[in-house]
């Protein structure tokens, strides 16, 4: 097991390096630079700025310097937010994004599994059709469409929650972003749970359990659910990645000060170090999540063991 973990970490390093390299050159090839403004800077001031951030060096040299800094855990200074380093900005946005993402995941897992089981147990009857139709909608309607609709309905017409903003993680500001972020995940988890539970319910050991005279509820709870959730668990890795990429849009729409908002603003401002910092951070997080999920999988399924 220990060896397996070490192996996985070792393979993660070249993946991350590739990500850093591709991202580094991609942001540089985008037209426009961090110091192109409407009131353009006079050349001597721009030269001073470029020198200050080492942007006047040849690109390969900047790349090497950047890699060296990353090895020391330094993501560099932000060009746009001149009073902060990228490390500080990510640290400031992280608790917010974690809270948002964590709650969305939790909501998605609970509601998704409940809805999926409910649909499976009422297979081919109207509850099944309703849940699956809703799930299909949830998967196919993107969150940048859902968010304004929710704002229109619940913030403007009904006036139940604020239209956006953030105040010390006060729950009123969390309701809509969490729901918007969770919706596609709920839908996906519900579908996964349904199909996997149906499959399990038809297997021999469930028939045995039934034959023993256990009630339908006990059969599902005690015997069927655990194996049926394996596909859901393996989906949690991609789901975490989905929450992160989703939060980029959600944080922008709802004005939430998380890491995702820095990504959008960083890209618009050509804040190279900030964009790269967030990409690397997200990349590392996705790799870590996938590893975690694989380990969790081994705990749930006795047939899976790592050597």
């Amino acid at each position: 097991m220990k060896r397996y973990i070490l192996m996985r970490i070792a393979t993660a390093i070249p993946t991350l390096w590739l990500l850093i390299t591709v991202a580094f050159f991609l942001v540089r090839f985008a037209p426009g630079g961090p110091f192109d403004f409407d009131r353009a800077l006079p050349p001597e001031i721009e030269a001073n700025l470029l020198a200050r951030y080492n942007l006047d060096a040849p690109l390969w040299q900047q790349y090497v310097t950047y890699l060296g800094d990353i090895l020391q855990g330094d993501l560099g200074p932000s060009f746009q937010y001149r009073d902060y380093t990228v490390n500080e900005l990510i640290a400031a946005g992280l608790p917010v994004s974690m809270l948002l993402g964590g709650l969305a995941m939790l909501l998605a897992i609970v509601v998704g599994i409940l809805a999926g089981s409910f649909a499976a147990l009422h297979r081919h009857r109207w509850p099944d059709h309703t849940v699956m139709a809703l799930a299909m909608t949830g998967i196919s309607v993107p969150n940048f469409v859902v968010a304004p609709l929710l704002i229109l309905a619940f913030a403007i017409h009904l006036d139940w929650v604020p239209a956006g903003g953030w105040h010390d993680a006060s729950p009123v500001y969390l309701v809509m972003p969490v729901i918007t972020l969770a919706l596609p995940l709920i839908a996906y988890i519900a579908r996964l749970t349904r199909s996997s539970l149906l499959e399990v319910l038809h297997s021999d050991f469930i028939r045995t359990a039934r034959a023993k005279g256990l009630s339908a509820a006990t059969v599902v709870r005690r015997h069927a659910l655990k194996p049926a959730l394996l596909p859901v668990v393996s989906y949690l890795g991609p789901a975490a990645a989905g929450v992160m990429t989703g939060s980029v849009v959600i944080e922008q729409i709802f004005g939430i000060p998380g890491v995702g908002r820095f990504f959008v603003q960083g890209a618009l401002n050509r804040d190279y170090t900030l964009v790269l910092g967030v990409v690397i951070f997200y990349g590392a997080l996705v790799i870590a999540f996938n590893l975690l999920v694989d380990l969790l999988y081994a705990m749930l399924d006795p047939r899976v063991r790592y050597r």
Partner: protein, 535 residues
């Protein structure tokens, strides 16, 4: 607070701190997160709004946009406006209680112009003796023409007379900074606790992308006349979200309004809406270095003549914008921009003249002008571009291709001038003087994206720069602007307006062309929260 929200809040077991903000607490929408709270590093309007509360320069802008004494109590000029002596208030103090001295300004101005600081507005300050050389790194910062004659006396020597110097010194790039704080905390000197400022307020909280809270500075020399205890700046770049929060009574002053709601706001919240001319012009530039506009003043004039700016301002924009015929907006100190002859012609006469010039330039219905109009992506810019191009097509038969690009891509293309023909541009004056607009078209000026290069124009500007007589200077500048407008390297379209929503409980607000509204000039009327306006 609406009853439904109370119920829901209770259901969610909320202690909702936002709705229970202190009575003497002002909340302002502020568009974006400021890039810095270092006065020499920041650039945007967002930062300058906050810095205006935190710092005070030798002079400051008053509630009506006028220049008032700041840290300097009085001043005198010598050597025909090339030497200024400022006498500082003895009671001017930093937020740590120490005295603000002339040396603080010497340090700050040297820092602002030092190449290592890379201050984005340093070029404005290069009018100080040796300023340009210091900025370019040819001379050490110590060579700059500023010196402390006494603890409370500062002398500034200038390269040439600068009649707008007092305006310039009120700008955040000329604020003092506390040397000891910089030395002790380095790049962390703007953090709460480290930030030592000399304005009416000091920094209490800075939650990046969430809020910045300032509190009253007890050491400020005029602290007894500061009414509001705390002020909170919220970065909200979505104007719809800002509007909703204003309606819910969560924000006292918005940065702007959603354009498409202008009419309904005007009807439903007339007391809250403040629309004022702003020191800013929206125009199209011609690239004079490329075909078809190189050496084609007649063609450029024809394209300008057929634009009905009144329709543009009233129908296409319709939020109080004013039609523009010149580069300098109205309301500038001691200056009125020239008005081209055609501005007072009837539309029919303008169109007839335009068609004649168009044909003389070698174009006709069979051989129409084909051009590309480039602008940065945005709903408003697209509407203006559509309106202008349809006026060109209708009256002249010009075929215009609209090309829009993401902001930074657009800026790069505009600056390089290799692909542009006609392009969108705008300018906001850094300070209240015509030169901030006119220098844009100086042949050697680095921000001249039009390739306009006219010796006579440059000579007029140069002559104005050495004139200490205000009237003569204004007439020289006006002559230069009239000459430039006739050559038409650009096509003025409209003057911007600033738009805010201000809650009725906010007092002391005065509309002004600079759109400067320091919190120290505001106060809150004694209104309970329930009576806040709700349409």
């Amino acid at each position: 607070m609406p009853p439904r929200r109370i119920v829901l809040s209770a259901l969610l077991l909320l202690a909702s701190p936002l709705f229970a903000a202190g009575d003497n607490h002002l909340v302002r929408g502020n568009f974006l997160e400021p890039e810095s709270l270092d006065p020499h590093a920041s650039r945007g309007v967002e930062a300058s709004n906050i810095l205006r509360d935190l710092y005070e320069g030798l002079t400051r802008t008053g509630p009506g946009g006028e220049i008032l004494p700041g840290v300097a109590r009085e001043w005198r000029q010598g050597e025909e406006g090339r030497e200024w002596t400022f006498v500082l208030r003895d009671d001017a103090a930093w937020s740590d209680g120490s005295r603000v001295t002339a040396n603080d300004f010497v340090f700050a101005l040297r820092r602002a112009l030092s190449p290592a600081t890379a201050s984005p507005f340093a070029d404005n300050l290069a009018v100080i003796a040796n300023g340009a050389d210091v900025l370019a790194g040819n001379k050490p910062p110590e060579a700059l023409g500023v010196e402390a004659i006494a603890a409370n006396e500062l002398r500034i020597r200038l390269e040439q007379p600068v009649p707008y110097l007092l305006s310039l010194l009120a700008h955040h790039s000329a604020y003092p900074v506390k040397e000891a704080a910089l030395e002790q905390h380095g790049s962390q000197f703007t953090r709460p606790g480290n930030h030592i400022t000399n304005g009416a307020y000091r920094l209490r909280t800075w939650a990046v992308n969430e809020r910045i809270i300032l509190e009253r500075n007890p050491h400020y020399w005029d602290a007894e006349n500061v009414a509001i205890d705390t002020v909170e700046y919220l970065p909200i770049d979505d104007e719809e979200a800002e509007f909703n929060r204003f309606r819910a009574g969560e924000i006292d002053i918005t940065q702007t309004i959603p354009l498409r709601r202008y009419e309904s706001i005007r009807k439903e919240m007339p007391d809250a809406l403040r629309v004022t001319p702003y020191l800013s012009t929206y125009f199209y530039g011609f690239n004079l270095a490329r075909e078809p506009f190189r050496d084609a003043p007649k063609l450029r004039r024809a394209l300008s003549l057929v634009i009905d700016r009144e329709i543009l301002a009233e129908k296409v924009l319709g939020a109080g914008e004013q039609p523009a015929y010149a580069l300098n907006p109205p309301g500038i100190n001691d200056y009125s921009a020239p008005r081209p002859d055609y501005a007072d012609w009837t539309m029919a006469k303008r169109i007839a003249e335009a068609q004649r010039l168009y044909r003389e330039s070698g174009y006709s219905d069979d051989r129409p002008l084909e051009i590309e109009l480039r602008f940065n992506t945005g709903d408003n810019h697209r509407r203006v571009a559509l309106a202008v191009s349809s006026m060109w097509r209708k009256h002249l038969g010009v075929q215009t291709r609209l090309a829009h690009e993401e902001w930074k891509v657009f800026l790069q293309n505009r600056r390089q001038g290799e692909v542009t023909q006609v392009f969108r541009a705008a300018w906001v004056g850094d300070f209240n003087d015509p030169i901030t607009f006119l220098q844009l078209l100086e042949g050697s000026y680095p921000l001249n994206d039009y390739s306009y290069d006219d010796d006579v124009y440059d000579a007029l500007l140069a002559e104005a720069a050495t004139t200490s007589n205000a009237q003569r200077r204004a007439s020289l500048l006006k002559k230069a602007e009239a000459r430039m407008l006739e050559a038409q390297p650009l096509l003025p379209l409209y003057y911007y307006v600033s738009k805010h929503l201000v809650q009725p409980r906010v007092g002391g607000w005065q509309d002004n062309i600079m759109d400067h509204h320091a919190t120290r000039d505001l106060f809150l009327r004694d209104l309970p929260m329930e009576t806040r306006s709700r349409p």
